[in-house]
């Protein structure tokens, strides 16, 4: 190795996220995903002559909330522009987007817990635009099939500075961003519905003379639609660029595509990247002024963001960072947790229960918590019975499952079915005496030092009570009785 500094990855992302509106950006067509092909179309989104776009007010609001969620400065006055390019999936021959004055400028997303350090990813800008149609290429017939349902669906494009230093960090950023967007209510970010797509800019850099950087030419990998693809494509690029440096091969600044099956990126044909978008202000749409009151009102609609909430869960409830992260990543679990704690549940017990029983059930069934008839109060009451030793953990799980199925209050289930654990010493001592009398051999063995025999005797107590004895207490009382017994002998 020479004395020159090591190369490291430098990664920037452009993220397109579909905004959670009912209708499209500039027309009244439904923006819903999964409709039969070419059913949500109209003269505006098909670019038919004489049609005129009209701005969806909700898309603008969600864009502002998106910008606030990443800390961007919403511009008081903005306008739309035409980005000109000719593809069959874009019938107008241009995309309505923003360029000179975007919706918002600046911002940052802080990643905690990444490689045990805090990392900041600066946001360059957030702008609004419309999506293109969906094209499917058929290698068989040599044709392209077009579906214009998606054409005109509102998107926010979030552009980061090249602040990420590893493929894993890029992925962590995307996960954090998804949590932010969900919490802010900007988008459901359903990956399978293509609601988040990502372009990556990548090169390897090292410090050079002065404060400068030198590095390889930038590769742009387009249109990645899963976090895993982003990470894998970046890992592939890291090794491709490293190899080029080793081999002394020059790289060129180019657009590349990701081949999921082969796990490689490949260069786009040079002609298709010869873009010159010739942006100009959209003459069919008036400029937009964002009323400061509206911006403030919308900012207030953005709830506590994941990072702040995680920190609060750690500090206020003394949760570990894994539990805090797991709860906060699903807002409905975090809300349920907070309400259960407010109803008196022990935070640690509630977190364990929600991340175990509740999340397990939701994952297994695909239900959402809102579909279930259980309430935070039920959980708090159940957990306090467990904490007081009145019922065992196993019983708690049983009555909880019943509550999840039927909505029956778990505490009344316990009361009515007599499942309440036998935890008073007098009752247990009487049973313990019986068990010792009935099993003199086992009692003998234990007093002779065979610890295992105690387990058998505890089992006998449990059997007598049909599982309702508090096993820990039974264990204690048996030990005491046997010790006393041997003392008497």
């Amino acid at each position: 190795m020479t004395g020159s500094p090591e190369y490291r990855p430098m990664i920037g992302l452009e993220i397109h996220v579909a905004l959670a509106t009912r209708s499209k950006m500039f027309c009244g067509c439904s923006a819903e995903f999964g409709a039969p092909p070419n059913t949500n179309v109209c003269p505006v989104c098909l670019g038919l002559p004489g049609s005129l776009p009209a701005i969806n007010a909700r898309a603008l609001e969600l864009g502002i909330m998106c910008a606030r969620a990443v800390g961007g400065q919403v511009q008081a006055r903005m306008h739309f522009e035409r980005k000109n390019y000719h593809y069959p999936d874009l019938p107008k021959g241009y995309q309505i987007s923003q360029y000179a004055v975007p919706l918002a400028i600046g911002g940052e997303v802080v990643l905690d817990d990444v490689e045990d350090a805090e990392r900041r990813v600066r946001i360059r800008r957030v702008h609004l635009e419309e999506d293109a149609g969906k094209s499917t290429h058929s290698a068989e017939t040599g044709h392209t099939l077009l579906d214009f349902n998606r054409c005109g669906v509102p998107l926010a494009e979030i552009v980061t500075e090249p602040d990420m230093r590893s493929p894993g960090e890029a992925r962590a950023f995307l996960e954090e961003l998804r949590a932010l967007l969900r919490v802010a209510g900007v988008s459901e970010v359903r990956m399978e519905a293509g609601e988040l797509r990502c372009d990556v800019n990548f090169n390897l850099v090292r410090s050079a003379a002065g404060d400068g950087l030198e590095g390889t030419e930038i590769s742009e990998v387009k249109n990645l639609n899963s976090f895993r693809s982003v990470q894998r494509a970046l890992e592939y690029e890291v090794s491709r660029h490293r190899e080029a440096i080793r081999g002394g091969e020059p790289l060129v600044h180019e657009t590349r595509h990701w081949d999921e099956e082969r796990g490689i990126t490949y260069a786009a044909r040079s002609k298709e990247e010869a873009h010159d978008y010739r942006y100009f202000p959209e003459p069919d749409l008036p400029p937009i002024s964002v009323d400061p009151d509206l911006a403030q009102y919308l900012a207030a609609q953005v709830p506590e963001l994941p990072r702040a909430r995680r920190r609060r869960f750690r500090n206020e409830f003394d949760l570990g960072s894994y539990d805090a992260r797991a709860l906060v990543s699903e807002a409905e679990l975090a809300d349920f947790f907070e309400e259960a704690v407010a109803e008196g549940a022990d935070p640690k017990d509630a977190a364990n229960w929600i991340l175990g029983e509740v999340r397990g059930h939701l994952n297994a069934t695909g239900d959402s918590l809102a579909d279930l008839p259980v309430t935070p109060r039920m959980l708090a009451a159940l957990l306090s019975l467990v904490a007081a030793g009145e019922i065992s953990g196993t019983m708690a799980k049983d009555v909880w499952s019943e509550a999840v199925e039927t909505g029956r209050d778990p505490v009344s289930s316990v009361e009515e079915s007599g499942l309440r654990q036998i935890s008073d010493e007098e009752t247990l001592d009487a049973l313990v005496e019986e068990v010792i009398e009935e099993n003199p051999d086992a009692a003998e063995e234990f007093t002779a030092g065979k610890e295992k025999a105690l387990g058998f005797l505890v089992g006998q107590v449990m059997k007598k009570t049909r599982g309702q004895a508090n096993p820990q207490l039974a264990n204690e009382r048996l030990r005491k009785a046997l010790r006393n017994g041997s003392d008497h002998r």
Partner: protein, 103 residues
Amino acid sequence: MRMSPEEVEAVADLARMNLDPGQLERMRSDLGEILESMKALDDADVADVKPLFNPAETDANVTRRDEVVESGIAEQFLASAPKREGDFVVVPRFVGDEEEKDA
């Protein structure tokens, strides 16, 4: 003010147009005339003029409510497509940013 043949070709490429040499020359002359007449704008004194992005500069935001309105033209649209396959419009293969997998 004449554009170079290369510039005209580049613009034609962006518009996905194939021009034969005769068309290219004619286009070059037409575009030259258009640019010539637009040069009049260079004479305007804009030193004190604020940038204007739209002739309809107004503070009254013109937006629409987020409501679904069915156009009712879906079937008509598909029927008028030069070529269709099921509910899809068929066009010659192009390589784009979209996935290049089979359906």
